[in-house]
């Protein structure tokens, strides 16, 4: 799936990341890379440090050690909004949408960083602000079309079923036109059909928009199906890294995550 170029370009590189909260070591000396255009999965049991890893990548946590290189720029301390400006968007394990706002408005918030006119122009809804809004609305509509959520365009997201809320959240992340999309358990709590839908959208985003995706997921069959390479974490340590087949055959992974086989 990552056969887009012969020499894959590295988009994100994580080197020697260690993160601790007081005495608790959440991550210790983690290194891996994400190639441009691939779907990279991070798996591991509960508390393995998966979400912490994502939080480090998008600047929400600041690791005590190590460095992160994104698009060739190395940084140790960064704020989430700077990450967003650089082209990193994410969704959350627990949906974080504005429940009282419509689907369309929620997706429009994803365009916020791209709006250039100032507050006054926007309040008056004049000239450039108006043109700009039309541009952003069009971008939001493309996302709505892409995710096939036309029927809920004007529905407050609080009234939507869980699976659809997840899709709206993905929509908001996509509206920012990110280079790197971080998905924190996009399929948690979904039924089989919703999972299949979400998988298809993730593959479509990767395939048609060319977005690089890092995703955390519990459902092993999903991970093995859609990702190009998998990182396995356990107790904050890196257990394995490689293609789904390699990871599946790794004895340490089988013991820690998939369970020990009994003969």
């Amino acid at each position: 799936m990552n056969a887009t170029s012969n020499a894959p370009e590295t988009l994100l590189k994580v080197e020697g990341i260690s993160l601790s909260f007081g005495g608790v070591k959440a991550l210790s000396n983690i290194s891996f890379d994400v190639r441009k255009g691939e779907i990279r999965a991070i798996i591991g049991p509960n508390g393995a440090g998966k979400s912490s890893m994502l939080n480090c990548i998008n600047g929400f946590y600041h690791p005590q050690e190590g460095q992160i290189t994104f698009k060739g720029e190395t940084r140790s301390q960064m704020q989430p909004h700077e990450a967003a400006k650089q082209g990193i968007a994410r969704t959350f394990q627990n949906i974080a949408l504005f429940k009282g706002m419509s689907t369309l408005d929620n997706i429009m918030t994803g365009r916020n960083l791209k709006m250039k006119t100032n507050f006054l122009w926007q309040a008056l809804h004049l000239g450039p602000a108006r043109r700009e809004e039309m541009e952003h609305r069009e971008a939001a509509e493309r996302v709505i079309d892409f995710l096939e959520i036309e029927q809920i365009r004007k529905t407050p997201v609080g009234r939507l079923p869980y699976g659809l809320q997840k899709r709206v959240e993905l929509g908001r992340a996509l509206a920012a036109e990110p280079d790197l999309l971080l998905l924190d358990e996009p399929m948690a709590g979904m039924n089989h059909e919703e999972k299949e839908d979400m998988c298809r959208y993730i593959l479509d985003v990767n395939d048609q928009l060319g977005t690089t995706i890092v995703l955390i997921e519990h459902d092993m069959s999903v991970v093995m199906d859609i990702s190009d390479r998998v990182v396995v974490l356990d107790y904050g340590r890196l257990l394995a890294d490689g293609t789904p087949d390699v990871v599946r055959a790794n004895q340490a992974v089988i013991n820690a995550y998939l369970g020990v086989t009994h003969e």
Partner: protein
């Protein structure tokens, strides 16, 4: 004959009418479609150009006069244009139901000998690629929406716009081709072939000529006074004859604009934005609209609820008379006027029905309560009696004389007669040419002197309105000779909002029994308000409280039947609630949601036997087919209940 006849050679085919519309009303909108949240529109001149380009492109692709081209997808302007484009070069378009599974589709493509398919999107392309090996005649596939198609590299796949581009080049090289080709068409040519969903056996291809569709469409326009300013929303399957008349033929005749919804899920919202003046919906749509309204009213504040119920009471009492122009007292008129401002007007507006001048319903019987609800609000809803073989119109309820129980009076130029066995026969300019490659069926349906057997049993009431009882072959007798009209009973049951589908049995049996499908939305809502937990249809359907709920409905039907002198003996004695919903994918319903009795009887043989034995519980195992073709089995214990029957309240005449 009134109206347009085939002699007016200038306007006897759709392509010719298109040229005329482009000339007479070139700037008026002909089609609208919502895309990226915005309504786009095309004028008659625009669509004339688009259609010309596509027609020339099809010619360039190798489509010749007499070839068939299948068209399949949701209602899209591009697909309606394809109909006319195919007709312009003398080929025959065959619209196909877009939700058909691959097997059904293969039969139609194969039987129709389609050379080219014009489809909407990847979903349809995938289905076609699957069956292509079995349909040797199918040479090319044209798709409209290129989403998801970037990795398809088959040589015989073309995008709609690439065909149009080639068409424009062809047109430039052969400037006379298009107009000559349009000129060659005449009213007696076959202009479309529609496959009837067929309650029995394989679908049959009904061949209709330009005259059939255009004369019938024009007569319909004359009867309702339709003009170029009508607005309609095309949301029913293109493969259905009704959509061909309402969204294509009549639009070409009257020159009005047809809008296409953004997707099938947004129809209600689009309806509100378009505000159609001419609207068709099968009874189930009116039913589901009403159900949504009632559910929301139940959640509304007390004061709003009482206002709603009070004014609906007023409407029920006098609304129908006001609509029909009968005398009504001043006070009632005043109350109705207030009700219109406070309730009916806003309600119609929310439903998108404010501007409807003519609203039709057909296909199945509509519940009297539902029918009265809409009419009393001032919506001119009328029932049609229609058939594919008649190019839709057979009878229409006339303005001012609408009786919920009747199907109305014959449409313009339609002759009707009732055969000795009660079967309705008709003769009209819309009578189909023949079934494609099926002489035998044609002879069975069409008599030598041109009458068409409808297969429905009915009679004329004293006002001269047609009343339909049932399919004539379905009307049966109990062992004691009592008349048994299954559909009549089923419709009575289905008029309860909690019952979605019903199947009754009784022919050559001792008594009448029924299968019931509950309405998951309505009963589910009822259960939620009573804090009854359920995991899905099967679970809910099996609960005793739900049986109690349905029991009331069945008993009410029995009370109604007791008042009918002919049918008092066919009251329902035993019934059960089916453990799964009847579904077209399982072959239990047709694509237009009509019962397929034979497959149902075979499949649920055990349950039927249980209904006629003393059993109170019957274990079943059913196979279900999912949309992607996978199958699964459901196991359940189905309860069977007895119902008390009521003594006839009217003594039989003898």
């Amino acid at each position: 004959m009134a109206g347009l006849t085939s002699s007016s050679g200038l306007r006897d085919t759709f392509p010719k009418l298109l040229l005329e519309n482009a000339r007479v009303r070139g700037d008026k909108p002909a089609n609208r479609e919502k895309d990226y949240g915005i309504w786009l529109s095309w004028s008659w001149r625009d669509i004339s150009d688009e259609i010309r380009a596509l027609a020339c492109g099809l010619k360039d692709l190798g489509v010749d006069r007499g070839d068939t081209v299948c068209i399949c997808g949701d209602n899209r302007p591009h697909l309606y244009w394809a109909l006319t484009a195919v007709q312009s070069i003398g080929a025959v378009p065959v619209p196909v139901y877009q939700d058909s599974v691959a097997d059904e589709m293969q039969y139609i493509y194969d039987h129709a000998e389609a050379k080219v398919a014009i489809v909407e999107n990847q979903e349809q392309v995938d289905k076609l690629l699957e069956i292509k090996g079995h349909t040797p005649k199918l040479r090319s596939i044209i798709y409209n929406d290129s989403r998801g198609m970037m990795h398809y590299d088959q040589d015989d796949l073309h995008s709609y716009s690439s065909i149009q581009d080639k068409g424009r080049a062809y047109d430039a090289a052969n400037p006379d081709f298009y107009l000559d080709s349009v000129e060659q068409g005449s009213g007696s040519d076959v202009c479309a072939m529609l496959y009837t969903s067929g309650t029995t056996g394989r679908p049959k291809g009904v061949m209709l000529s330009f005259d059939n569709l255009l004369i019938t469409a024009n007569n319909g326009c004359i009867r309702e006074g339709l003009g170029e300013d009508e607005e309609t929303l095309a949301y029913l399957p293109m493969a259905w004859i009704g959509d061909n008349i309402f969204s294509h033929a009549q639009a070409y005749c009257a020159g009005y604009c047809v809008s296409c919804p953004e997707s099938s899920d947004t129809v209600l919202e689009d309806l509100r934005e378009i505000g159609p003046t001419y609207f068709f919906a099968p009874p189930r749509i009116y039913e589901s609209l009403l159900t949504t309204v009632m559910i929301r009213i139940e959640d509304a504040a007390k004061i709003k609820q009482s206002m709603f119920h009070y004014f609906m009471g007023v409407a029920k009492r006098v609304g129908m008379d006001i609509l029909d122009g009968n005398p009504v007292s001043f006070i009632d008129r005043l109350l109705y006027g207030i009700g219109n401002i406070l309730v009916y007007g806003p309600l119609k507006n929310v439903l998108g029905l404010s501007k409807v001048r003519v609203g039709y319903t057909a296909g199945e019987a509509i519940g009297p309560d539902i029918f009265v609800f809409y009419r009393s609000m001032g919506l001119n809803l009328k029932q049609l009696y229609a058939s594919t073989e008649a190019s839709v119109f057979i009878t229409i309820q006339p303005d001012g004389e609408v009786n919920p129980e009747s199907a109305g009076t014959p449409a313009i130029d339609v002759d009707l007669k009732i055969a000795d066995n009660g079967e309705i026969l008709f003769k009209s300019p819309g009578v189909f040419q023949a079934y494609f490659k099926n002489e035998e069926a044609t002879r069975e349906t069409k008599t030598e002197d041109g009458w068409v057997r409808t297969g429905d049993a009915g009679y004329f009431d004293p006002q001269g309105h047609l009343r339909i009882i049932d399919r004539s072959k379905d009307v049966g007798k109990l062992t004691d000779g009592t008349l048994f009209a299954p559909k009549f009973l089923e419709n009575k049951l289905k008029f309860f909002p909690h019952i979605k589908e019903a199947v009754s049995f009784g022919h050559e049996r001792d008594y009448v029994t029924a299968f019931i499908n509950i309405d998951l939305e309505s009963v589910g809502n009822w259960a939620e308000r009573r804090n009854i937990a359920y995991s899905g249809y099967t679970d809910l359907a099996g609960q005793s409280v739900v049986y109690d709920l349905i029991q009331d409905c069945v008993e009410q039907v029995n009370r109604d039947l007791a008042a009918d002198e002919k049918l008092a003996g066919s009251q329902i004695k035993r019934y059960l609630i089916l453990h799964k919903e009847l579904d077209a994918d399982d072959g239990e319903l047709t694509r237009t949601r009509k019962l397929r009795r034979q497959p149902i009887a075979e499949r649920y043989d055990e349950l039927i036997e249980a209904l006629y034995s003393g059993k109170t519980v019957c274990p079943v195992e059913a196979q279900v087919t999912y949309e992607d073709g996978r199958t699964d089995t459901i196991n359940a214990d189905v309860q069977i209940r007895d119902v008390v029957t009521v003594e006839p309240t009217v003594q039989a005449a003898e």
